[in-house]
């Protein structure tokens, strides 16, 4: 029998007292693609880095066996590692913007690998670099090679990074979250590229939190949780007929069209939905441009009570600008936004402040959204004071709010840093609810969260809406999420609304080509 490319036997990795990888075992056969799936803190990235000897300072590594192509990696010295890294194992980190040296042309980064592992020099090397860039689908490679990371789009950066990883033609390529932070369409392309890398004698190890991504790529999947592999097997089997509860939970948590109207997290079902009420926000032909660059153009929508309107689009499509205009935080160049029939433009400061209570917001970055010095109690008290709640009753109201968002009174004394991302987003929602607003603008409310947490928050938003009849303006790049959470959706591209309508229609029968492209690109949970 052919011996596997990688053999990991009872691997344990600990930093100080904390053991983050607790005895995992797996193999990767030649030409096979294994996916390590798990949420943050599951130890998947550490495992990947351990395979290239970059676990990090102060890490204690123990393994029954840790072999690459029959070679015992645990025995390697620094010098030996250097031959393996880049030479025989290529490594693709997540988020190419920070994984490429921002001060050096991408070409140099690739040339570096060639310089270290091949005899190529001068012109030959430059040629090879261009060749590699071309091979990963980078247009005008010579030009690109001379550019700095920030001059390239996210997709191109990721491709460049991959080019560097495969430059020395390694037998194993490890990709750690290769597609996070990429727009859905680009994500699809990169996934295809990775799929191509896999060949008869080159194996692939993909690390991801996104089962959908994995479904598209991996032959086998290993699901990690808290440093152990809870389940592993052929992709089809694991995704199709999961055995372990955690895997099931993960699968259930992924929002997509089929999850519409179902619970993503294992929480009690909510009260019945209310029918959409009167119009609370009406945006008419709003447009805004920054220094000549058009950010938003002729965007109109209406939002009714107890209704959720989604705005999808890739980065730079003008989603956030639209949100800020709706919130009255920045004034449109053209058009107007009315909340409860009052246009922001027409109001004086005092009136604006009063109106603001009716339209609140929840941010993407859960940490930056809070004054670092404030405790949850203070945060809520402040919000309540705006709502005119008398001082004495603020505390009890705060507790109510916390319970409404699924937190308990003991969180009152915590500071933002002392809360998890999910908890912070819950507090953010509580704060937004404090003035009993008619609308909450949610700007990428879940994109910074792990899938299971995301599930909880999405459910929470749903529940809150059913409780209070608040309307959501829901901004996200994740079509799955939008599909799950929204009643109607606006698809934006380059500051324009290209398509609009009930979420079902738009996603089932997309009219606009771009929408089709988007929908096509959505990774689906059916193994290839």
């Amino acid at each position: 029998m052919v011996k596997p490319m990688v053999t990991v036997e009872n691997l344990r990795v600990a930093f100080g007292a904390a053991e983050v990888v607790r005895g995992i075992s797996f193999e990767i056969a030649r030409g096979e693609c294994l996916a390590l799936v798990g949420e943050s803190g599951s130890g998947k990235s550490v495992t990947a880095r351990t395979l290239v000897g970059l676990t990090g300072g102060g890490a204690r590594i123990a393994a029954g066996e840790l072999a690459f192509d029959g070679q015992d990696l645990t025995a390697l010295r620094e010098r030996g590692w250097r031959k393996v890294r880049g030479g025989r194992i290529g490594f693709v980190l997540q988020d190419a913007l920070v994984s490429l040296d921002p001060l050096r042309p991408v070409g140099k980064e690739i040339a570096e690998v060639l310089a270290t592992h091949t005899g190529l020099t001068g012109a030959a090397r430059r040629a090879r670099v261009a060749e590699l860039l071309a091979s990963v689908g980078v247009p005008e490679p010579e030009l690109r090679a001379g550019q700095l990371p920030h001059e390239l789009s996210g997709g191109l950066r990721q491709r460049a990074l991959i080019a560097a990883a495969i430059a020395a033609d390694p037998e194993l390529v490890i990709a750690d979250e290769p597609t996070t932070a990429l727009d859905v369409t680009v994500q699809a392309q990169v996934l295809d590229l990775l799929a191509e890398l896999k060949s008869r004698d080159r194996s692939l190890l993909v690390i991801s939190h996104d089962l959908a991504v994995v479904a598209r790529l991996a032959d086998r999947v290993a699901v990690m949780k808290d440093g152990v592999i809870v389940e592993q097997g052929p992709t089809g089997r694991v995704l199709g007929a999961p055995e372990h509860d955690y895997t099931k939970q993960l699968l259930r948590a992924i929002p997509a069209e089929h999850t519409k109207g179902t619970r993503l997290s294992a929480t009690a079902p909510a009260p019945p939905r209310r029918p959409p009420g009167e119009v609370v926000v009406r945006a008419q032909g709003i447009g805004k441009s920054f220094g000549g660059r058009i950010a938003v153009q002729d965007v109109s929508f209406t939002l009714r009570a107890a209704e959720t309107v989604g705005i999808v689009g890739e980065s730079g499509s003008g989603k956030t600008t639209t949100a800020r205009i709706a919130l009255g935080l920045s004034a449109p160049d053209t058009g107007s936004v009315e909340v409860h029939g009052q246009s922001w433009a027409g109001l004086d400061r005092a009136a604006r402040r009063r109106l603001r209570r009716d339209i609140q917001t929840v941010y993407q970055d859960t940490l930056a959204a809070f004054d670092p010095r404030y405790t949850v109690a203070k945060v809520l008290a402040e919000a309540l004071s705006v709502a005119g709640v008398p001082r004495r009753s603020r505390r009890e109201r705060s507790v109510e709010l916390l319970e409404l968002v699924g937190l308990s009174p003991e969180h009152l004394s915590r500071r933002p840093l002392q809360l998890s991302g999910g908890q912070r987003q819950r507090v953010a929602i509580a704060r937004a609810l404090a003035p009993e607003p008619a609308v909450i603008v949610c700007d990428e409310p879940v994109s910074a969260l792990d899938v299971s947490v995301q599930a909880q928050v999405l459910d929470l938003l749903e529940d809150v809406q059913r409780e209070t009849g608040v309307a959501y303006l829901f901004i996200s790049h994740d079509l799955g999420v939008v599909h799950h959470a929204c009643d109607r959706v606006l698809v934006m591209k380059d500051g324009r609304v290209v398509e609009e309508g009930p979420v079902e229609e738009v996603f089932r029968t997309p009219a606009h080509p771009y929408t089709r492209e988007l929908v096509a690109a959505i990774p689906r949970l059916t193994a290839v």
């Binding site: 935080l329 400061r349 402040r353 930056a368 670092p372 705006v386």
Partner: protein, 270 residues
């Protein structure tokens, strides 16, 4: 996340002793720092004079202990001045309109164009030597720097999304500034200031070296040091101990300051 190491505790201990020396020197030295004894000049450390005597037969230990108050004043006083005025200017620039901001920033440009010591020298030409003036000099010299720092902080905080959140909440602008902008803008500056105290202390001793510091016979580390240099070949102790006092103090202040910084940046777990 790292926990405070022994170094930090040591520094805190040193500062504690210094504070004690500043408020109640008599507890640390029984001798009179002004007691001249022409017969006992430049005597090496002994039972009677643990750190020896100076060129006037005064007890070096006593002078170091009693000098603490003045020396610390040089550091803390100066930074206090710089903080208050620099802080106000910086806030004005950070919160005010373009005109205010420009005026203040151009002024601080000019201020920054003078090297600290040069500015201090100019101030002293006007005001004359002496402790109070030295403090004033160094303080003034530091104002532009702090003004810039505070302004930068203020602007950063103003742009932060929690301030936007407060606005979105419908909080009155004034309250947003008082409750969120001010505290968050000033806090990190306060922390940096602790480190600044050390630098100011050194600057102070430099003035003393030029003979512009505390007039005799009042003890002050810097002036002790600068006098001692004439006798360095005969009386090492006279120079070494005040020097050590300054260095140790500055180190301690800096260590504590850095620890506070790490903490305020949430990089330590205490």
């Amino acid at each position: 996340m790292k926990r405070p190491g022994p170094g930090l505790w040591l520094a805190v201990a040193v500062l504690a002793v210094l504070v004690l020396a500043a408020v109640a020197p008599h507890l640390l030295s029984a001798q009179d720092p002004l007691a001249v004894d022409s017969a006992q000049t430049l005597r090496p450390p002994s039972a009677a004079h643990p750190l020896g005597t100076d060129e006037n037969g005064r007890d070096v230990l006593a002078r170091i202990v009693y000098g603490t108050r003045t020396s610390l004043l040089l550091g803390f006083g100066a930074i206090a001045i710089a903080l208050v005025f620099g802080g106000l200017l910086g806030l004005a620039a950070g919160l005010g309109n373009r005109v205010v901001e420009n005026v203040i920033m151009r002024l601080s440009d000019i201020g920054l164009a003078f090297p600290e010591l040069l500015l201090a020298l100019v101030v002293i030409t006007v005001a004359g030597g002496g402790t109070a003036n030295a403090v004033l000099a160094i303080g003034v010299a530091n104002i532009p720097g702090y003004a810039r720092l505070v302004r930068a902080q203020t602007l950063a905080v103003r742009r932060s999304s929690y301030v936007e959140a407060a606005h979105a909440l419908g909080l009155p602008g004034r309250r947003v500034i008082l409750r969120h902008v001010l505290p968050n803008a000033v806090k990190p500056v306060l922390v940096l200031a602790t480190i600044g105290v050390g630098t100011a202390l050194v600057a102070g001793s430099a003035l003393s070296f030029l003979g512009l510091g505390t007039p005799p016979p009042e003890p002050e580390w810097g002036s002790m040091l600068s006098t001692a240099r004439n006798f360095i070949s005969r009386a090492w102790w006279y120079g070494v101990f005040p020097g050590a006092a300054i260095t140790l103090t500055v180190i301690s202040v800096t260590v504590v300051g850095r620890a506070l910084r790490l903490r305020s940046e949430g990089r330590t777990s205490w």
